[in-house]
Symmetry: C3
Subunit: 231 residues, 3 copies
């Protein structure tokens, strides 16, 4: 099928089966792939309106993507999302309303930004990472595959508490971050860790629950030795 709203401005290229709703703006050289849905209406709008594409289109506030982005197949981006320039999304990425993504960031396949999520520039979010409402990811952060961030210290509560991951931090694959913690600048979390407390800047933590094991400098030294070695 494919459907592009009359209100949408598409300066890049939209594939034949893509659906683009509302007054979305797609920048020059930005590519919207097959089976992609852009400008998906938030839940309350879906609930209160007759659910036909033409209605959804007129209800959608659209979404904005900059220049030179690649939005790969089967991805869904809700309305009211702001995407910078040269952002890349993998396949099956889901970005909910209110999220913002800085320029030159990459969002891996199956990753979900589930609510208002702030993502800086030059961020790398690997496949399948889950970032809930109120998560903040600063510039240059690396989020490994399958990382789960939470936002409710005592589910199910009325008061959510976002996690902040500060500039240059690295979160290893499959780590679970408990609601409300902060991962400091350049801190590193090991793969498979369960992080129940804030980790100070420049520290490396791993285990279940995660404990501080070394400094980022020591970590970089180990990395350098391995890269120079033969293995």
């Amino acid at each position: 099928m494919g459907y592009i709203s009359k209100r949408a401005i598409v300066r890049g290229f939209a594939s034949g089966s893509a659906v683009i709703l509302g007054c979305s703006e797609i920048g020059e050289e930005t590519f919207i792939d097959e089976f992609v849905y852009i400008g998906y209406p938030r839940r309350d709008k879906l609930l209160r309106s007759p659910r036909k594409l033409s209605n959804l289109d007129s209800l959608s506030s659209g979404t904005r993507a900059g220049r030179g982005c690649i939005i790969r197949s089967h991805t869904v981006i809700y309305e009211d999302v702001e995407i910078g320039d040269r952002v890349e999304a993998g396949h099956y990425v889901l970005i909910r309303e209110g999220s913002r993504i800085g320029s030159d960031s990459k969002i891996g396949s199956y990753a979900k930004l589930d609510g208002k999520v702030e993502v800086g520039s030059n961020v790398s979010i690997q496949s399948g990472a889950y970032l809930p409402h109120l998560t903040t990811i600063e510039n240059g952060v690396f989020i490994g595959p399958g990382v789960i961030v939470t936002n409710d210290p005592y589910p199910v509560s009325r008061k959510l508490l976002g996690v902040r991951i500060k500039e240059g931090a690295i979160i290893g694959a499959g780590a679970v971050l408990i609601a409300g913690i902060e991962v400091g600048e350049r801190a590193v979390i090991g793969a498979g860790a369960v992080v129940t407390r804030s980790i100070p800047a420049g520290m490396v933590a791993f285990g279940c629950p995660a404990r501080i094991m070394m400094t980022r400098e020591e970590y970089e030294e180990k990395k350098r030795m391995r890269e120079e070695a033969g293995d």
Copy 2:
């Protein structure tokens, strides 16, 4: 493309690219979104028949969804699934044959009900949760994002053993539940826990392996204090 079986009864609205097979019944005001597949045939039927859409359609027993449901984009629901009223499915949800979902339940994006899974009413299953064949989820249960339930104590064995999660229980994000255990009524499992034994009703357990740490009453008291505090 889109395809709706001549045997299907669609009282709600099916989007243009949706595929609905067999004698599926879709209730009033139920919305079937773009790129959704309903009534997908079980494996043995796929294996033994020429795989053209018209054949698959004639083989499919269809699926039944009640009134006022929302089945979001890119979701796949197999044949022989029973869905109550006002059920919501996120994007990329996968529900295999034989599953039943009670009214007013929500199934998050990327969640998979992988075989015969019983889900009660007012259940909330968050994004990416994995519920295998023989899992039972009672009314009012909350399953956090990325939870993995298993059904084989010694893989790969011939005798599967389902997990039962009883009324009002809460399973934290990323928890892994070992085959055959039971999570009692109103019990709580912490995020990232690996649960190797049954947890009695009203108890709170976390860690790897999970140990009982407090009662649900103590947990509710901590929650209340936090909600009332300023942080």
Copy 3:
């Protein structure tokens, strides 16, 4: 929509909405389902070319699938993938360029082969498993749901190190395997384990971090007792 390259040879059946690019070869009785994308171009090609389907088609080297395969809905397979006979892919499977999959293997829904991944014959990869670039899975291996394999001991480094899982090994649900380790022949990893060191052939390990707990023979004996018992 649907699109089949003029250069592609489809001996099986391709559904109406499927996209097949480049000189892909699809064997007899192989089924390409709805919303599937085959022959997806690698990143560097996407970056340097005008992104229209006709361009992508002419850039794609295509992919090769043998006879009697089932590629279920919403799956994406990149170019330069080699798939044997009677391989089954679930829904939302993502296989990147350079991967090879032996005959009679099954790749579960949401599983991702993220780069050059070698998969033997008779392998079972369950839902949502993540296998990065340089992973090797030998014949007859079982990978449980939600398993995360990594390839970078000190992210983000320039020197990646693949994990090798040897013949007949079993990896339990939700396990995390650290870059560079080897899981020996017939070894078993328990559900939820974080595996930081190589596990010798015939050993069973679990926990965070994983420790050797018994032999495969003892494991099989426990399994046999349970299968014969009433529970």
